[in-house]
Structures are given as C-alpha cells and as structure tokens.
C-alpha cells in the first residue's frame, strides 16, 4: 500500500547512519561531530546527563530538527535532502515515544491511537477500532480507556498510550525519548518490559534515550554515552562510550563510570568552589 522502499538495501547496511552531525541552537552548540550507526534489529541506548543533547540527537534522526552540519542517512538516504511528501513517507516508518507522551489532549485515548491510522491508511472505522484495542492490549491497557481523555490517566498510563500510538502503524524503528523518566520504579520496569516485548513481537530497531542505567542495562544491545559540550575541550569527542552495556562499568573513563554509578564526582567540588567555600 505504501511504498516504503525497505528492500532497496541489504540488511547488512546500517539502517540509521549519523555522519559527523552538528547541531547548534542560537548561542549554544549542542552536538558536535557525532557519528553513530545503528543496524537493523538493534536496540541502542543513548545515555548521558541532562542537556548533553540526547533528545536533540533523537529528534534530528527523524528530522524534527535540522542538523547544522553533517547528515543523517535512513536506509541509505539523506533525510534532509527529501521533499515534504517523501519525508512524510519515511517518517511513518518511525514511531516516536515522547518524553511526556505528547498525547493530543483534545482527543480521547482511542482517537489518539487511531490518529496515525486515519492519517495514512484507508481502514474502516471497525478495523481501526480493532487495531486500537489490540495495540492498547499490547501495552497492557484495558478497552475501557479508549473513551477516556489523556488528562484522566496517570503518567504511566499516558506513556503506555504514547507507546501504543507509536506502534499503531507497525513501524520499523521506534525512538523512545526518556521512556521511564518521572515514573515510579515499578512502572519503570513495566515500561522496560514493554520495550523488550515490543522487540519480541515486532522486528523493530530501537533507539532509547535515557538517563536511567537500569533501562539501558535491561533493554539495550549497545550503549552510547554523550557528554555535554560545554564540559569538553574543543578536540575531545562528544561520544565517551560506545559498546555493550555489560562492559560500561569497566570503562576506564572516570566520567563514564561516574555516570554509571551515579556519583557527582568533581561536580560537587565545582559547586563548592562556586559558593566560595
């Protein structure tokens, strides 16, 4: 029905290739010279402290933000060289799970999950309803939430609706922006399990932006750590670690181990110095 061009390249090519990406906002450089390759079926966690540009990287990959320098290749093609219609066709191969779920609050849960289906398919109302209910069931939500408004749901439920909506069109890539932030430990683990079960049920490639090491360890095949640019020297790479999650604790870079262990390290000293102690 929709020509996605999925078969144009062999499965050995990386599905997403970020090449020397740089993003600068007015007066602030966020990403510099970032390179990342994600293979088909892989789950990559992007970790790092707040403000290091993880979310910006994620949004640049789906062309919600335009890179200042460098290129993002999706399935071998440069996203920013495409026209509007072509870009839309590529975008619906992605599912984006937003940090605060970003549900449309003027619509019910059912309408939210049905939104991408109504936009891009010719399915009838009954068929849409079936898909909506089955997607909601996949994330563990009962049929009764369909007619509720997002404002009536708890944070964890909203996130799960966001996931159901992202999965509505059976995307090839799922991008998670801080999936467990702001949730209690139990609900965080539920979300982690959902990320894993999504992977089991659909052949998806996933990118998970998180600062929760538990999530990174549990769901990822590979972990990538970004570091905030203002704390780096001009010639240092922004990516401090790129490897399997099991070995990250053994990394020799103290900045990586501090993040993994959750230690403030020299930040506390800096704060004390600033306070004049």
């Amino acid at each position: 029905m929709i020509d996605t061009g999925a078969n144009r390249h062999t499965s050995r090519d990386p599905l997403i290739r970020v090449d020397r990406l740089g993003v600068t906002f007015p007066g602030r450089e966020v990403l510099r010279d970032v390179r990342l390759e994600v293979s088909r079926g892989e789950t990559v966690a992007i970790i790092g402290e707040s403000g290091c540009g993880k979310t910006v990287l994620l949004k640049t990959i789906i062309a919600l933000l335009r890179p200042t320098r460098g290129t993002v290749y999706f399935d071998g093609r440069d996203l920013n060289a495409m026209n509007e219609a072509e870009l839309t066709r590529q975008r619906i191969r992605f599912g984006f799970v937003f940090q605060q779920a970003a549900l449309f609050d003027s619509m019910t849960v059912g309408q939210n999950v049905a939104f991408p289906l109504r936009q891009h398919t010719e399915k009838g109302e009954r068929e849409i309803r079936e898909v909506v209910v089955s997607r909601l069931a996949e994330v563990g939500l009962p049929e009764t939430v369909v007619s509720q408004k997002p404002a009536e749901l708890s944070g964890g439920m909203r996130k799960r609706v966001g996931l159901a909506r992202a999965l509505a069109l059976a995307p090839e890539v799922v991008l998670y922006d801080e999936p467990t932030t702001g949730l209690d430990p139990i609900m965080s683990d539920v979300i982690n399990e959902l990320i894993l079960s999504t992977r089991r049920h659909h052949p998806v490639t996933s990118l998970v932006v998180t600062h929760d090491m538990r999530t990174a360890r549990k769901v990822a095949d590979r972990v990538v750590m970004l570091y905030p640019l203002p704390r780096l020297d001009r010639d240092e790479p922004q990516m401090l670690y790129d490897g399997p999650p099991q070995e990250i604790a053994a990394c020799r870079d103290p900045r990586v181990t501090q993040f993994v262990e959750g230690e403030a390290g020299e930040r506390l000293m800096e704060m004390r110095q600033r306070n004049g102690d």
């Binding site: 789906i62 509007e84 975008r91 984006f96 970003a102 549900l103 449309f104 609050d105 939104f115 909506r165």
Partner: protein, 311 residues
C-alpha cells in the same frame, strides 16, 4: 529635567558595566570621564537598536513565510472535517453572544454621545445616519475583530503554544501530519469565513441598540430616523465594512497561530504568546483599518465623485 537626569544616570551605569566587562578599556573610559561614558552608552544604544531592528525584520520574514505556507496548504489540500467543525464552532458560534452584546452597547453609546450636538442644531433624526454609518463602516468590523482577537486569537496562541511546549506539534510531524495543514488551516479558514458573519451581527445589534436608545429613550421620531439612515447609508458602506473584516480575520488567525507555533517553553512562554498575539493583532487591526479605510474611501469617491451628504 528628570528625563535628562535619568538619561545620564543610565549612561553612567552602562559605562560602568561595559568598563568592568572590558577590563583594559575600563581605565580609559574612566579617565575620559563623562564624554567617554556617553560615547560607550551611545554605541551600546545603537547596537541595541540595530539588534532590535534586525530581530523585528527576521520576525516579519518568518511570519510572512508562515502565512505563505498556511495559504499554500489551504489551497493544496482540503482540511480534515473533524478539525473544521470544532474550530468553526469555537470561532463563530461561541463568539456570537459577546459580539452581539458589545455591538448593542456601542450603538447605544453612539446615540448618547452624539445626541447633544444634533439636538442643538435641531437635527435629531439625522442621528440615524451618523450612528448607522459609523457602525457599518467602522465600529462593527473593528469591534467584531477586536472581540475575536481577544477571544479567539489569544486562545489560539495559548492552545498551539501549549501544544508546542508539550511536544504535541512535534508528535503531529513525527506521525506524518503537517501541523500547518492540521492546525493552522482550519483556524485560518474559520476566521476568514466567519468574521464577516460576526461583523454583520455587530452591525445589526448596533443598529438595533442605537435605534432603541434614540427612539425610546431620546424620543426621536422613528420614521425620519430610519428614512435618514436608509438614504445615507448605502451598500458600499456595508461592503467596505465586510471587506475590511476579511483582512482582520486573516490577521487574527495568522498572528495567533504564529505566536503559538513559536512559543517559548513553560507556562510563562504560553502566557506571553497569548498576550503578545492579542496586542499585536489589535495593533494590526487598527493599522489595516487605516490603510483599507483610505483605499476604500478613494475608491468610493472615484465611483461617486459627489459623495454623500448628511444635510
């Protein structure tokens, strides 16, 4: 006096600030005293002015592009039905009571204010001509537009601003729906189509209010009141009011949506977007009113060189 004092004290603090920032130039600034400080202040002032001007031009450029893309999407693809009705209801139906109410009051106020002078000349029945002309040409359209800017324009900015801040606009884009097509086009269309109707409503209620007050409170003879109105106010006047209102409606929708789309983060950003949208659309309404008024007046005299006569 106070102005000058303020100016100098301002210059002083500024020169101190620049001095301490630049370090080496601080000594020079201090030794040359007041003239140096004033020079620094002037440089800073000009730089500041330049920055504001370029920012303003950038903003205008962005707004123009935004408007073009709204018009392009309006022509390119029909808006989705579910987005149309809710917006039309918000913009048209819910604005009707407040527009009707203010219209009635302004009609009555016009009668109150102009009665004294006309009474002295013994031309009370001419009030009809004055009130209805003022309503149909100016006050009806401007009042309806002002109410719409306050009621709908700022709420568009707040609503779309909240959607921007909570990433709902990003979510639309990520799901392959164009936010301009989905959010701006129905609002733009709603304002464009419904503002003439609201203007008619304001005109009508103003005429009723003015008539009621003139006839029942001021005891003006109704037959001549109406006859004078009918002979003085023509179709062109009604048309010029309607015509102007189209521009007002477009300005309200585009300014409101543009402010919402470029909203800064947080509750403060949303609030500021709503306020700025209202203030700017109000100014633009009056500016457009002046420009269009002059243009339509020129057209009127080109068509009917004799012009209307009140006596």
């Amino acid at each position: 006096m106070t102005g000058a004092a303020l100016l100098f004290s301002h210059a002083d603090t500024l020169s101190m600030a620049t001095g301490s920032r630049m370090g080496s130039s601080a000594a020079a600034g201090r030794s040359s005293g007041l003239t140096g400080g004033l020079f620094d202040w002037l440089v800073e002032w000009i730089a500041d002015l330049g920055e504001r001007v370029t920012a303003g031009i950038c903003e205008l450029g962005k707004f123009t592009l935004f408007s073009f893309s709204a018009v392009r999407w309006l022509i390119a693809r029909a808006p989705r039905r579910e987005t149309i009705w809710s917006n039309f209801y918000q913009i048209g139906v819910l604005s009707l009571p407040v527009v009707a109410l203010t219209g009635t009051f302004i009609g009555m106020v016009l009668a109150v204010q102009s009665y004294g002078q006309f009474r002295m000349l013994g031309m009370e029945t001419r009030l009809g001509a004055v009130i209805n002309m003022a309503l149909v040409r100016e006050l009806g359209p401007v009042l309806a537009a002002t109410m719409l800017a306050g009621r709908v324009g700022s709420s568009m900015a707040a609503e779309l601003g909240t959607m921007r801040v909570t990433e709902q606009i990003d979510a639309l884009t990520a799901m392959g729906a164009n936010p301009i097509h989905y959010l701006v086009v129905p609002r733009f269309l709603g304002c464009l189509i419904l503002i003439p109707a609201l203007t008619i409503m304001a005109d009508f209620m103003g005429i009723v209010g003015g008539y009621y007050y003139s006839v029942f409170v001021l005891d003006i003879e109704p037959h001549h009141y109406l006859q004078n109105s009918a002979s003085y106010v023509g179709w062109f006047d009604l048309f010029s009011g309607m015509f102007k209102s189209l521009f007002f409606g477009a300005a309200i929708a585009l300014i409101g949506c543009h402010h919402g789309f470029n909203c800064d983060a947080g509750a403060e950003g949303v609030g500021r977007a709503a306020t700025n949208a209202f203030v700017l659309s109000f100014v633009v309404i009056l500016l457009l009113d002046l420009i269009l008024g002059i243009t339509l007046d020129g057209l009127y005299y080109a068509l009917w060189p004799k012009g209307p006569s009140i006596i």
